[in-house]
């Protein structure tokens, strides 16, 4: 009967009675609301138990809604409502609701605990040598309940390149993230990256690989079957050998038409035997890099 709040009263005496009734209801409600109070925690840390103070008397239903938790229990008003640690693991906003004949609510926030792990993302997993700002890393500190630690902490990034170069860069987190960029070294090989925060340490490896082939050169010699064409050891401009399996395209153009073969590099060189009829022009390419041309005259 308390839910009927909208009334029209053409009769003055009836209206006066309704007004008195409503006022009485309001007074009762107000007096009930004043009796029940909730005082939520002000500085709750994830994974630490806490409590909510209540006033009033009697029984009520207590609801706690959090980012990873929902519970409902009967409580006695006027006592503390204990919030065990496992209910407060997730950082975020919690809503505490106390319902008797009416419901009251209060919200509070739980912040992340101290860092217990680091998520460290490094890219790329393979990088050509001698590239500016080629390697980047991003680190996020998390507490042991997988909450992002938003309070500033300092992450120390260390990079050890193959060939001996190393750098160290302490970086404070902003909005819970720290990041860095670095160049790739001159020499192919594994680059070690470490992100540290106190006792926490995470290691990643970036493979530095040779860049595009440089000074791609071929030589040829006649054989019984045709022409054996072979590259010189294929290296990039820093002298790093281009990995085996890299494709080198040999092209022979002669009176019989054009012939092409895509050959993978093996043990640093690529070679092919062409059934070429002289005269012929033989050229080589790898990716978008062109090599030299050989002109073979008529036999």
């Amino acid at each position: 009967m308390w839910s009927s709040t909208t009334t029209t009263t053409p009769n003055r005496s009836a209206g006066r009675a309704a007004f008195l009734l409503l006022a009485a209801t309001g007074l009762v409600s107000t007096s009930f609301a004043q009796t029940v109070e909730m005082r939520p925690p002000t500085a709750a840390i994830a994974g630490q138990p806490n409590a909510i103070q209540t006033s009033g008397s009697g029984e009520a239903t207590f609801y706690l809604l959090g980012p990873a938790h929902t519970s409902k229990q009967l409580v006695n008003l006027g006592h503390e409502i204990q919030l065990p640690a496992d209910q407060l693991r997730a950082a975020g906003r919690y809503l505490a609701i106390l319902c008797s004949s009416a419901c009251q609510s209060a919200s509070f926030f739980v912040t992340a605990a101290s860092p217990a792990s680091l998520s460290f993302l490094v890219h790329p997993s393979r990088v050509p040598v001698k590239q500016e700002n080629a390697i980047s890393g991003v680190a996020f500190p998390f507490d042991k309940f997988s909450n992002l630690v938003l309070s500033p902490v300092t992450v120390d990034f260390q990079l050890k390149l193959s060939g001996g170069d190393s750098l160290s860069r302490p970086t404070p987190t902003q909005h819970g993230v720290a990041w860095f960029r670095a160049y790739s070294g001159n020499h192919a090989g594994a680059a070690q990256l470490v992100a540290s925060l106190g006792d926490l340490s995470v290691r990643r490896v970036v493979q530095q690989v040779a860049s595009d082939p440089c000074n791609l050169r071929i030589r040829a010699q006649r054989t019984a079957k045709g022409i054996l064409v072979e590259t010189e050891p294929v290296r990039d401009c820093s002298g790093n050998p281009v990995p085996d399996g890299t494709i080198v395209t040999f092209t022979e153009t002669g009176p019989g038409g054009k012939s092409t073969v895509d050959m993978p590099i093996k043990l640093g060189v690529a070679r092919v035997e062409l059934l070429a009829s002289a005269p012929a022009v033989i050229s080589v390419a790898s990716g978008v890099v062109m090599g030299n041309e050989l002109r073979l005259g008529a036999q």
Binding site: Y63, H69, T70, A91, R93, S136, Q174
Partner: protein, 179 residues
């Protein structure tokens, strides 16, 4: 005993009415209280990498769908809705909450969502983005059919999103008192 026989025209009308009611009921399942969230994104502060226009569109679209599925999951206490746009800690936490809501008979509604999203970090390789989201919505909590809490809420979230196979997904969704 009197036998009542319906006229053919009346039977046709009843058949049409029943078809209409059936389709109405089928469609009623779509009339969920979780309406489409409105998202406004501000990429001006994004760094160290500037967010491309196409990426902004995709992030907005997928973030909106994530919130829509979150609202659906919390209202109907269904876990299926969380599979598409949530991974990692965010998914674990939301799944735990929905399961406990199922157990306690509680469900909550996030209605009329309006999101003001600031891009505060976009990784150099574009593989993670951090958003600060100020959400205005009507938050309602029910125990069964009884409403136990209603508030016009303003919530602040720190969000981590990463690119999945064909969409951006939420990896971390953490509420804070302010930014």
């Amino acid at each position: 005993m009197t036998r009542h026989v319906l006229a053919p025209g009346t039977m046709v009308m009843l058949a049409l009415l029943s078809l209409f009611l059936l389709s109405f009921r089928a469609g009623a399942a779509d009339f969920s209280p979780a309406s489409t969230p409105q998202i406004e994104i501000n990429p001006v502060n994004s760094g160290p990498r500037a967010m491309e226009a196409l990426t902004q569109q995709n992030v907005v679209r997928h973030y909106g769908r994530a919130w829509q599925s979150l609202a659906d999951a919390f209202d109907r206490n269904t876990l299926v809705s969380l599979n598409d746009y949530f991974v990692g800690a965010a998914k674990d936490q939301l799944t735990g909450t929905v399961k406990e809501q199922q157990r306690t008979g509680i469900h909550s509604r996030y209605l009329d969502q309006r999101h003001m999203v600031d891009v505060v970090f976009y990784a150099p390789e574009g593989d993670v983005v951090m958003l600060h989201d100020t959400v205005q919505c009507d938050l309602e909590v029910y125990d069964g059919d009884k409403s136990i809490h209603t508030e016009p809420a303003v919530l602040h979230y720190v969000v981590l999103m990463t690119p999945g196979a064909d969409r951006w997904v939420i990896r971390q969704l953490q509420a804070v008192p302010q930014f």
